[in-house]
């Protein structure tokens, strides 16, 4: 069984500021980090491998510093990582084309896991697009996988609770942080992660992708600035109305 985990090097949102005078993001102190949600996806993959064997391959699209994420995945326990060096605009369409080609070049996969994306991401959740592109079923909001004699089951968040469903392979799953904490890299793995043979470096041309297939479907425009943090706001209305309004505000702030 081969499990591919899409891992991204994003930006630590705490290191990004907003420049109000220039109406743009201030990225002078921006620090790259492996997207924390993606480590949950890797953890889920490693647990499946531990229960039923197989191979876990991390796929990382990015340039230069993204290699750190590939090495980190190996240090955490991935059998190997594929680092796709890509410098162009990474729209959702582009990412989908690159990861799909990587899965094909690997000789296929049984399960592809991706995270849900961070706070600074405009490319969008990859899992839904990838499932459509591969023609595989999508498991949304997966919290955990159970390996049982009857096969693989997914436990997925569902309307405040969870649902358990059999996984028909091959499949794509979007993993969200569940009960299992991503493991820390083992010291011995950290030492070998930078050795030869663990990270393969590929590029779009090698995978037979033309520019057309990689052309961005969306483009980033300017920033629209919200109000500065304002304290002391009072939300009126009935308890139900206030609750609805507040839920909307907090969802917008990704606090719910």
């Amino acid at each position: 069984m081969r499990i591919v985990v899409c891992m991204k090097q994003g930006i630590d949102p705490k290191t990004v500021k907003i420049s109000r005078s220039r109406e743009e993001l201030d990225l002078r102190e921006a620090r790259p980090q492996t997207q924390p949600e993606d480590k949950h996806a890797l953890e889920a993959a490693l647990r499946i491998r531990e229960a039923r064997g197989g191979e876990v391959v991390a796929v990382v699209v990015g340039s230069r510093s993204a290699e750190d994420t590939a090495r980190e995945a190996v240090a955490m326990g991935a059998d190997k990582a594929v680092w796709i060096v890509y410098k162009g605009q990474r729209s959702g369409k582009t990412m989908t084309a690159l990861v799909k080609a990587a899965v094909e070049r690997l000789g296929g996969a049984d399960l592809v896991l991706a995270g849900q994306g961070g706070d600074l991401d405009t490319a969008g959740p990859l899992a839904g697009r990838l499932a459509a592109a591969l023609g595989w079923p999508l498991i949304a909001d997966a919290l955990r996988f159970d390996v049982e004699p009857a096969g693989l089951y997914a436990v997925a968040a569902f309307e405040g609770k969870a649902t358990r469903l059999p996984v028909v392979l091959p499949a794509v799953a979007e993993v969200i942080p569940g009960a299992e904490r991503p493991r820390y890299p083992h010291p011995s793995r950290i030492a070998v992660a930078w050795n030869d043979g663990y990270v393969e470096t590929w590029n779009a041309a090698e995978m037979g992708l033309e520019e057309e297939a990689l052309a961005a479907d969306a483009e980033m425009g300017g920033l629209v600035l919200g109000a500065e943090r304002q304290r002391g706001q009072v939300i009126g209305g009935s308890p139900e109305q206030a609750a609805e309004e507040l839920a909307g505000i907090l969802r917008g702030k990704r606090l719910l």
């Binding site: 839904g128 697009r129 592109a133 609770k161 969870a162 629209v224 002391g232 139900e240």
Partner: protein
């Protein structure tokens, strides 16, 4: 020369003419057929975009439009409401749209919308904004521009959706109130389509993340204003709905609701989670020191002049227990 009402109605998109082949337009999709206030807001946004593009607004409602307030949808801006049986899969929805060539497809950002939007954009070769708080049309190129919240919605990034259809999965709670324009006219029709039956699900308990007061991203703090055990139970219910933990101030400790390990404030723990919801807490200085680092502080208590009010980001003035129950429901929604 002046306008009469029918001119104005025509100008505002009030009169409906079937465009040939039903192509183009802005399509709002309710996969489960529900048309609640959230969907009406989404239709309103569709209306604004369609007016800027010069097209029609269609509402496509699954499950035979069960529970669908079609009149409300028309008053909110839909020119045509179409129903279908069952709930669509990505491929069924893509088949439906392939010939109609919509300019934009709007889905609510709930479980169904999130599951369908990305696949639909991919299958139709369109573009996607998976998380949109707003949509606009740029006046020069007539391109659809989504506004995506970043950094806890401190700013929004404009995402120009280049390929048609522009698929936007929209956070309806961030949209302005729905239109309610009784003079609007629209049609209701049925597609005669029968989509797949929604699959049944084996429900299980959601695996809990091991969280503590120090590590929980959400903390609900209980205080005196909850008055009794039923009030404290509402605080626990809210913490459960938000996936957070319950803590309390000194009065909650006195009431025996919490143990010392869950005391927040000068004598207890100092916490800095992403979100603190203080229920029935006045917020004297020794308490506020415990939550000064919170990313966002919401206070619900009865006194509009309480010390916590100017410190909290958001206040709800009223019965905190009643609010907690309503908020638990809204958060689960």
């Amino acid at each position: 020369m002046g306008f009469d009402l029918s001119d104005l109605q025509a100008l505002m998109g009030g009169s409906f003419e079937e465009p040939t082949g039903e192509s183009g337009g802005v399509w709002v999709v309710s996969p489960d057929g529900l048309i609640d206030d959230a969907m009406l807001r989404l239709i309103g946004k569709g209306r604004v975009v369609a007016d800027a593009l010069g097209g029609y607004v269609y509402l496509l409602a699954g499950c035979n439009g069960a529970g669908a307030d079609t009149e409300g949808a028309i008053r909110a801006g839909a020119d045509k409401v179409l129903t279908a049986g069952g709930m669509p899969t990505v491929n069924e929805l893509a088949d439906f749209f392939r010939e109609r060539q919509p300019q934009a497809v709007l889905l609510p950002r709930n479980r169904l919308g999130k599951a369908l939007g990305p696949g639909l954009a991919q299958t139709l070769g369109g573009s996607l904004c998976p998380y949109a708080a707003d949509l606009a049309v740029d006046p020069i190129y007539q391109r659809i521009v989504a506004h995506q919240p970043i950094l806890d919605d401190a700013a929004r990034m404009q995402v120009i959706l280049l390929a048609a259809p522009a698929v936007a999965v929209m956070e309806t709670a961030l949209l302005p109130a729905a239109f309610n324009e009784p003079w609007r006219q629209g049609e209701v029709g049925d597609t005669q389509l029968m989509w797949s039956e929604p699959p049944s699900h084996e429900m299980v308990d959601r695996p809990a993340r091991p969280i503590t007061l120090k590590t929980s991203p959400v903390v609900v703090v209980a205080g005196q204003g909850l008055t009794d055990d039923a009030g404290f139970a509402a605080a626990m219910e809210l913490a459960d709905a938000l996936g957070g933990v319950v803590a309390g101030d000194v009065t909650a400790l006195d009431m025996g609701w919490i143990g010392e390990e869950s005391l927040v404030g000068l004598t207890g723990e100092t916490i800095g989670p992403e979100l603190v919801i203080a229920l029935g807490v006045d917020g004297d200085t020794s308490f506020m020191m415990g939550v000064a680092e919170a990313g966002c502080l919401v206070a619900a208590q009865a006194d509009a002049g309480a010390p916590i009010v100017p410190f909290a980001d958001y206040n709800v003035v009223g019965d905190p227990a009643e609010f907690a129950r309503a908020f638990a429901k809204a958060a689960r929604g």
